[in-house]
Amino acid sequence: MSPLRSADFGIDPDRIGEAEPIARALSRRLGGRYPVDPFGFDPMLADLATPVARALVRVRTEGADRIPETGPAVFVANRGLGIGEPMALGVAVGEMVGRRLRVVGAPGVPFVNGLVRRLGSVHASPEDLAACLRAGHLVAVPLGPTWLRTGAGSPPLELCAAMMGFTVYPVAVTPGGPLGAPIRPWRVRIGPHIELDDTYAPGDPLGAAELGDAMRRAVEEMLAGRAAAP
């Protein structure tokens, strides 16, 4: 079967590909020959947007050897108010291992929701997070927003239960300049995966609360410089 007649039309839904020339990309779009996943992710559109994201957000990554080459994992990162941190993390993962990153937290605003889901955002529900991980994707879960980027933000306890049973990495993302100004590259530090007491059954609320606290502590220590990424 030729790539254009296969189910994914020759575009890998897990790995970032080369952006196609505009004329070919347009012909593909008009012919409907592009893959979409059940979360609404459109890898072809994401491939077209990747060079723009890389030009806007430069990153310096530490602990990149911890990013899995295959299979599911969760990256729990701090977040200011906007999309800078998730975007920087996505660029870092793409540059280091060439994989796509799904970011939990698609806003429920009509039209905007559809657009960000096309670029890899996932609805912030435990069911969607669990389904995304079961499908083998790398997922970023931002902690609660922090205005002045002085802390890690509160963990989304509802989502923690869905993460149990998967590898969870704490990530500290700090901007290159004040208010995210692109003076220097963003710094993305990926810490060692969080160990959770294996006596907790998947979905146990106490285990989820413990995981949430451990995530917050780990990110906070990395942000404060008390824990080194490598």
Partner: protein, 321 residues
């Protein structure tokens, strides 16, 4: 094992009967429906009974005394009949055949055909629901399917046998009388003007294999059976070389009438699919039912459109020339 296939006259029911016939562990296969089977069956016994003829249906099922019921007597609105007739036949078929099978005293397992329509599409709900998500149907067909599941589960609890429910993604295929397939094959396809939500599909052969696996493994509880990947209304129309016609939310009523005039009736669950999408997490079913690789949604769509190509007939005179 004595298996009763209700709705055997449909594409899925006939295919399931064929697969069951080929198994050594199935001693007998019988089926009922108001239309005859769509393919030749070798050893299955078929009775043409309309579910509205309750007495005949009950008499046949009780006499047959199945040990397993594969319940395909669930009729999709706008497929072969209108929404009211479909809901009525589904209810009558479910009540009469399942209760008669239970009363016959030999029943060990029931599996019913259901659909992702039971989850509905509330804004706050999960966009890719798994079996743990509480059902909240948003269309009459979704309510009918949930009613079938509930009725079978009640009967199972009462008589002490396990009940499974296969929640299929929309089944689309070249030979399946699917309203969605019919709509997508129109030259102009209505699509939402301000969104393009994903929906997943299931190949009819995969749907039939899942049902047979459930019968053999006697899986209890609901299972989503969904083809991998997804498509969107705009993409599906373009993939088939159709013209997507954007429809603003207040105009869906008119779009429905226009599609009906063009030969593709649209029920509310289809409008829900086009406007809000319909996907589900089917990973549990793959493991529990031991399904081989399911055909992806895009492949199901491609097969649908390939079949729709019109091949000019060569007349006898042209062939000789």
């Amino acid at each position: 094992m004595r298996v009763l296939v209700t709705g055997m006259g449909g594409e899925l029911g006939t295919r399931v009967a064929q697969l069951l016939e080929a198994r050594d562990d199935v001693d007998e296969v019988a089926g009922v429906d108001f239309v005859p089977p769509r393919r030749r069956l070798r050893r299955a016994e078929f009775r043409r009974i309309d579910p509205r003829n309750r007495d005949r249906l009950v008499e046949f099922v009780q006499e047959y005394a199945p040990s397993v019921v594969a319940h395909f007597g669930v009729y999709e609105p706008a497929s072969r009949m209108g929404p009211t007739a479909a809901a009525e036949r589904t209810e009558l078929s479910t009540v009469a055949s399942l209760s008669a099978a239970a009363r016959a005293g030999n029943l060990e397992y029931v599996v019913v055909r259901s659909g992702l329509e039971v989850y509905g599409r509330r804004v706050s709900a999960a966009s890719v629901p798994d079996e743990a998500v509480p059902p909240a149907p948003g269309s009459p067909y979704g309510e009918t399917l949930l009613g079938v599941e509930a009725m079978a589960a009640r009967l199972g609890r009462h008589h002490g046998f396990p009940v499974g429910a296969l929640r299929y993604a929309p089944v689309v295929g070249s030979h399946v009388p699917s309203p969605l397939g019919r709509l997508l094959r129109l030259p102009v396809v209505p699509v939402p003007a301000f969104s393009d939500p994903p929906f997943s599909l299931l190949h009819p052969d995969d749907a039939a294999e899942a049902m047979v696996a459930a019968v053999v493994r006697r899986v209890a509880g609901p299972l989503n059976v969904v083809g991998p990947g997804a498509a969107t209304p705009w993409q599906a129309a373009l993939l088939g070389g159709r013209v997507p016609m954007p429809v603003a939310p207040p105009l869906w009523r008119w779009a429905t009438r226009a599609a009906e005039l063009a030969g593709a009736a649209m029920a509310p669950h289809m409008i829900e699919l086009l406007r809000h999408g319909r996907t589900g997490s089917g990973s549990r079913a793959v493991g529990v039912l031991g399904l081989r690789e399911l055909r992806p949604t895009q492949q199901v769509l491609q097969e649908l459109y390939e079949w729709a190509q019109v091949v000019p007939l060569v007349t006898a005179t042209e062939a000789v020339a």
